[in-house]
């Protein structure tokens, strides 16, 4: 299970009580609508969406812009509020008001379209700070860990650079290292390659492929159909806030049941 970086992530990935195949993320009848404002009618963002993700599974969500795929992903770690429904992640009831959200979120890694690296910190400090401030690790332990994960994503030589001194692809790799250093049970990728220059997309996708191969539980929102086809255990096609089709890449890409899915796939090639 060693990646090219030579670091075995299996210890970090297999959290206690999570055997492969057990349900990791359980989304039940989630509804969300944006209320009408002066210049727009109300929009149904999520229309009764249910989805389960098993431990170690890679689920890739595809669909047109505005279909609700990013919104759905962001509800998993409660960055987005929902109107009704329940979401349970590895035993934590995300939708319960009593849940300690910061503590829960520290167990879920998220990678954003625009990286969201802390702009006033170097790559190294970006990876160290959350471990110290949230996980309460010692500085020495956090530093050793940061070195390890920056090496894994191939960014150790640039450890002392600020985000503004790095290309988009490099920033995204640091962001992935930052999330992994928290030893997440689940990784969420929100259009992680959409804002990258074409030549740096490959490196980030390779890294995601590698993580998938190591058994990380992943939910990936992407426009990269090759990635979906090749890496996903399951592909989810969303449109207008609802899941239209769900199945293995083979089922969805070769044998889509719904006309909408077929039309979307023919347009994105």
């Amino acid at each position: 299970m060693d990646g090219p970086g030579g670091i075995d992530l299996s210890a970090a990935i297999a959290a206690p009580g999570q055997s492969p195949g057990a349900i990791s993320i359980d989304i039940k009848s989630v509804k969300k609508r944006y209320p009408a404002t002066a210049n727009s009618a109300g929009i149904v963002a999520l229309d009764d969406v249910s989805l389960t993700v098993k431990s170690g599974e890679v689920v890739v969500i595809i669909g047109p812009s505005g279909s609700g795929k990013s919104t759905l992903l962001r509800t998993i770690n409660a960055l987005e509020k929902i109107d009704s429904g329940t979401i349970v992640v590895n035993g934590d009831v995300v939708t319960n008001k009593a849940t300690d959200l910061p503590a829960f979120r520290s167990k879920v890694g998220m990678v954003f379209q625009h990286f969201n690296l802390f702009l006033h910190k170097t790559a190294m400090e970006n990876v160290i700070l959350p471990q110290v401030a949230v996980k309460r690790r010692s500085r020495a332990e956090a530093e050793a860990n940061a070195g390890k994960f920056l090496a894994k994503v191939g960014m150790l030589e640039r450890a002392n650079n600020y985000p503004s001194q790095l290309s988009g692809g490099q920033q995204q790799r640091v962001a992935i290292a930052r999330a992994l250093a928290m030893n997440p049970q689940v990784m969420l990728f929100d259009e992680a390659t959409s804002a990258l220059d074409p030549e740096t997309v490959g490196g980030v996708l390779d890294l995601m492929r590698e993580l998938a191969g190591e058994g990380m539980t992943m939910v990936v929102v992407t426009h990269e159909m090759h990635f979906a086809r090749e890496v996903a255990d399951r592909v989810v096609f969303m449109d207008a806030g609802a899941i239209v089709e769900m199945g293995t890449p083979e089922q969805v890409f070769r044998n889509a049941q719904s006309e909408r899915t077929r039309k979307f796939l023919s347009l994105v090639g």
Binding site: R105, F112, N116, L117, L119
Partner: protein, 238 residues
């Protein structure tokens, strides 16, 4: 006017030396009072303004409009009016805890005046930080307070400091207004000295002005220095 100025230049240096020696002790005493007023105003005005600014910088249902009203009220009225209200009107409400001596009234009004500007500066700087910085921190498990302290405020400081210097200098100069409620600060001491030496109005005001400048200039310098330092490492998103 011009004639007076030429007289000022051409007159005997010894005369000016004598006047300076006579009025300087009083002016310095006034300067100390001005210093005290400004420092108290800066300290608690910044504390109050910083707190309100942090609250206003994030959308909180009740706090944001309330603080907005406070700002509009203070920034839409002259400082002199605020001072009169605090010193002359509040005691008439009958509450004993609102009966302030002139110094307390001066401290309170200067602080409130300062806070209105500091609030806007701090909240503006916080809002200028991209939303993704908050989300990035939240997703890693930072709570709101930790995000503010470790991520947002350190990035805002480079925007806050330069604007703060301007407010502090404005405040130092505004202390001259509190002489109207009987505080004997630098400007009041200058007026008193002019009664003693009516022939040297321009010179005495010049000395008072030099003392104000000697206070304001280092404040601007220090803030400029801090601004430079905070810029190191603070980069704009590519």
């Amino acid at each position: 006017m011009i004639g007076q100025f030429l007289d000022f230049l051409g007159a005997d240096l010894a005369h000016y030396w004598k006047i300076a020696a006579a009025v300087m002790p009083a002016l310095l005493k006034g300067f100390v009072e001005t210093l005290k007023l400004a420092l108290v105003g800066i300290l608690w005005g910044s504390f109050l303004g910083g707190t309100l600014g942090i609250l206003r910088g994030q959308h909180i249902r009740v706090a944001t409009p309330l603080i907005g009203a406070y700002l509009h009220l203070l920034r839409g009225t002259p400082f002199l009016v605020q001072l009169y209200v605090i010193y002359f009107v509040l005691p008439n409400t009958g509450y004993s805890w609102l009966q302030w001596d002139s110094q307390t009234a001066a401290f309170v009004s200067l602080g409130i005046y300062t806070s209105s500007y500091v609030t806007e500066i701090v909240s503006g700087a916080i809002r200028a930080i991209p939303r993704g910085q908050w989300e990035g921190a939240f997703a890693l498990g930072f709570n709101r307070l930790k995000t503010l302290r470790l991520i947002i405020l350190p990035q805002s400081i480079g925007l806050i400091l330069p604007a703060l210097g301007g407010v502090y200098v404005t405040l130092i100069k505004a202390t001259s207004i509190v002489s109207v409620v009987g505080i004997v600060e630098l400007m009041r001491q200058a007026d008193i000295s002019i009664v003693r030496f009516p022939g040297d109005i321009l010179y005495i005001y010049f000395l008072a002005g030099a003392l104000y400048f000697a206070f304001c200039f280092p404040v601007l310098m220090i803030v400029g220095r801090l601004e430079e330092r905070s810029k190191n490492g603070r980069m704009v998103r590519a």
